[in-house]
Amino acid sequence: MNNEPKKHPWQKLLDNTWLLLALGVLIPVLSYTVWGWIELVLTKPALLP
């Protein structure tokens, strides 16, 4: 193993399936789902004068 050539850090990142899985779930859930959910929860009641 020691005589293997050094891997570029970017290659290490792309080889890390589990990190990609975690980020792939986290980013859309926060950006789309949670943010959108918060906007809906914060909807104010209509005044209807």
Binding site: K6, K7, W10, Q11, P45, A46, L48, P49
Partner: protein, 183 residues
């Protein structure tokens, strides 16, 4: 090689044609990213999603009040679409609030607007989701029960416009219609 594991280190940065294309693509994505915020501030057509929560019964009551106060006549439903029936024709005060109810299967009431005036058009649904689709202009907005969706809208062309429903709402969906007249 696309089907075989890679054993040697394979990272190398983009080069040549690939780099040129990458540059073009990034530039184009950047242009598109700027267009939406630009239009939001400088363009005239935007969907801000302005909305308030409302009970369907309250919204209907407010609409009936609006109709009673501003009614100017009756729109006779066309014989070709018996589901529509007759609608009160209502002219909101110039620059004021207008209310539009979507229900199975009509948009209630018919509205008469003035060219160049800006109105706050409140839309909500009483039963199912409906789609506000103004034809032949082809402007489309979603209308949900429980939400008072407010469009700040300025008619800039005269004539008779039809509100088509473009969200599926049962067997009468393709007949669901409404009217806006601009004078």
């Amino acid at each position: 090689m696309s089907l075989r594991p890679l054993t040697a280190p394979w990272f190398h940065g983009p080069a040549g044609h690939e780099k040129i294309w990458l540059g073009c693509a990034i530039l184009w994505c950047f242009v598109m990213s700027l267009m939406m915020p630009y239009w939001h501030f400088r363009g005239k057509q935007n969907s801000t999603g302005e909305a308030y929560s409302v009970k369907p019964a309250d919204f209907l009551a407010r609409t009936e009040k609006f109709v009673a106060a501003n009614r100017v006549g009756t729109f006779k439903g066309p014989a070709s679409n018996p589901m529509l029936g007759d609608l009160p024709l209502v002219e909101p005060p110039a620059g004021g609030d207008a209310y539009l109810v979507g229900r199975m299967w009509q948009w209630y009431p018919a509205l008469r607007l003035r060219l160049g005036e800006t109105y706050r058009l409140h839309m909500s649904a009483l039963d199912l989701q409906h789609g506000f689709s103004l034809q032949p202009l082809n402007m489309n907005f979603q209308v949900l029960p429980g939400y008072d969706h407010v469009l700040t809208i300025t008619p800039t062309s005269k004539g008779e416009f039809t509100i088509v429903c473009n969200e599926f709402c049962g067997v009468g969906h393709s007949n669901m219609s409404g009217k806006i007249f601009v004078e």
